[in-house]
């Protein structure tokens, strides 16, 4: 291939669009213009071949990087730490809890997903009975379950698929925690970590305790 091949090809704008033409990411009118040029100019077809080679090389260079094993637990652990959040009414935990319970779930969902989700619902129904038991023991009105949660002392928890209601109840009692509501999206419960006035260090310790119970707990997170 010589340097003269594209010597008369001086339309820089067309050259700039070729990579996007090759990946099919031009709008219709731009793609039509390139089509027109390619059909009339053999030098452009050759240039397109270079672009295609570059694209192939870039894809191979990316695929040559082996992605690490998926480890969602590390992400889940990071979520359990408090984010740096600007002060203001939008960031108040109480408002967040309210919004969370008011958020509608997406409607589009097939039967297969519904069947798979049923497992969580069944477990959720069993564990949710703990909410009722606890509420009756403490003479708390059903509509007031969220009021039992102190500010910042609640977290989102998903229990292990195989965890029985008795095991969850024992674990929470042992840790001095209680379910205040749920299950909601993804089979997640709201769990109160302890006293309403617990400080940040106490909350961190409580979350760490919860996370060590991997036999019964698969996910712990502060409210986003």
């Amino acid at each position: 291939m010589s340097n003269q091949i594209f010597s008369h090809f001086d339309d820089e704008e067309i050259q700039m669009l070729l990579p996007f033409y090759v990946t099919g990411r031009l709008d219709r009118s731009e793609a039509d213009q390139i089509d027109d040029h390619v059909s009339r100019r053999s030098d452009l077809a050759e240039l397109l071949s270079l672009v295609q080679d570059e694209r192939t090389a870039a894809i191979e260079a990316n695929k040559a990087i082996a992605a690490p094993a998926r480890n969602f637990q590390r992400v889940a652990a990071a979520i359990a730490t408090p984010p740096a959040r600007p002060a203001g009414p939008d960031g108040r935990p109480w408002d967040q809890i309210k919004r969370w319970f008011e958020m509608p779930l997406p409607q589009a969902r097939g039967w297969a997903a519904a069947a798979a989700l049923l497992l969580i619902v069944l477990q959720g129904a069993a564990i949710a009975s703990l909410v009722a038991v606890r509420n009756s023991q403490n003479f708390v009105a059903a509509s007031g379950s969220q009021e039992t949660a102190g500010r910042d002392s609640v977290v989102l928890v998903r229990f292990a698929d195989g965890a029985t209601t008795a095991a969850v109840a024992d674990m929470l009692t042992g840790l001095g925690m209680s379910i205040v509501d749920g299950p909601r999206g993804g089979g997640v419960f709201t769990v109160r970590l302890g006293a309403k006035d617990m400080n940040e260090a106490e909350r961190d310790r409580a979350i760490a305790d919860l996370r060590t119970r991997s036999d019964a707990v698969t996910f712990v997170a502060r409210l986003p």
Binding site: N62, L105, L156, G186
Partner: protein, 207 residues
């Protein structure tokens, strides 16, 4: 767990719920659910995009250990900001822009990579002369190595266009530069690629 529950476990597998969600739910729906604090949605989203995001960051920071941590941070960001995602851009563009910001920020925190010219010199070292270079290294491999040797901003735009298949507007949103700059940056990246190839003994005849 009662018998009926066990049957569902055996039918759907340990992560059957996530698998079902992965098949049926779009990225937009997943982000809506993540915004509603659904951890299964986040896990599904993570499984769907983790490898691609890791590669994108690894190609920028050139450190796979750091890239793994940064990729995880991207998904933590997704969890924390999903509720404010307003679909002005696609989820893919939003996710890549978070990854771009994380990677560039990490790069700024540490000393920059070796200069482009040093990398070009290392390419030349592989062969005694241009003819030998062509014989010893197949052209596809050489092209990959030259892409890897591009400066960060060129390598990133090449990856965004060729591997992630972004449009001009999408690449503009991810990198935070005007659309015209996306086109000229890609053009200049390709010109630099030709120069590196030429230095390694392959003349493409362009530009």
């Amino acid at each position: 767990m009662n018998q009926m529950q066990r049957r569902f476990v055996s039918l759907s597998g340990e992560s059957g719920c996530r698998a079902a969600m992965d098949r049926l739910v779009s990225d937009d729906q997943l982000v809506a659910r993540i915004g509603a604090a659904d951890p299964i949605a986040l896990e599904t989203f993570y499984v769907r995009h983790q490898a691609r995001i890791f590669r994108f960051i690894a190609r920028i920071v050139r450190d796979e250990g750091a890239a793994e941590d940064l990729a995880n941070e991207v998904f933590v960001d997704v969890w924390r900001h999903a509720r404010s995602f307003e679909a002005r851009s696609s989820v893919n563009t939003w996710l890549l822009s978070i990854a771009h910001n994380r990677a560039i920020s990490a790069l700024r925190k540490r000393r920059e990579e070796p200069a482009d010219d040093e990398r070009a010199a290392s390419l030349r070292d592989d062969a005694d002369d241009p003819e030998t270079a062509v014989q010893k290294v197949d052209k596809g491999r050489l092209l990959r190595r030259c892409i890897d040797a591009l400066p960060t901003e060129y390598r990133e735009i090449v990856d965004l266009v060729y591997y992630h298949e972004l449009s001009v507007a999408e690449a503009s949103a991810v990198v935070g530069i005007p659309e015209g700059t996306v086109k000229t940056r890609m053009f200049n990246a390709r010109k630099r690629l030709s120069e590196l190839l030429k230095e390694a003994g392959v003349d493409r005849g362009w530009p």
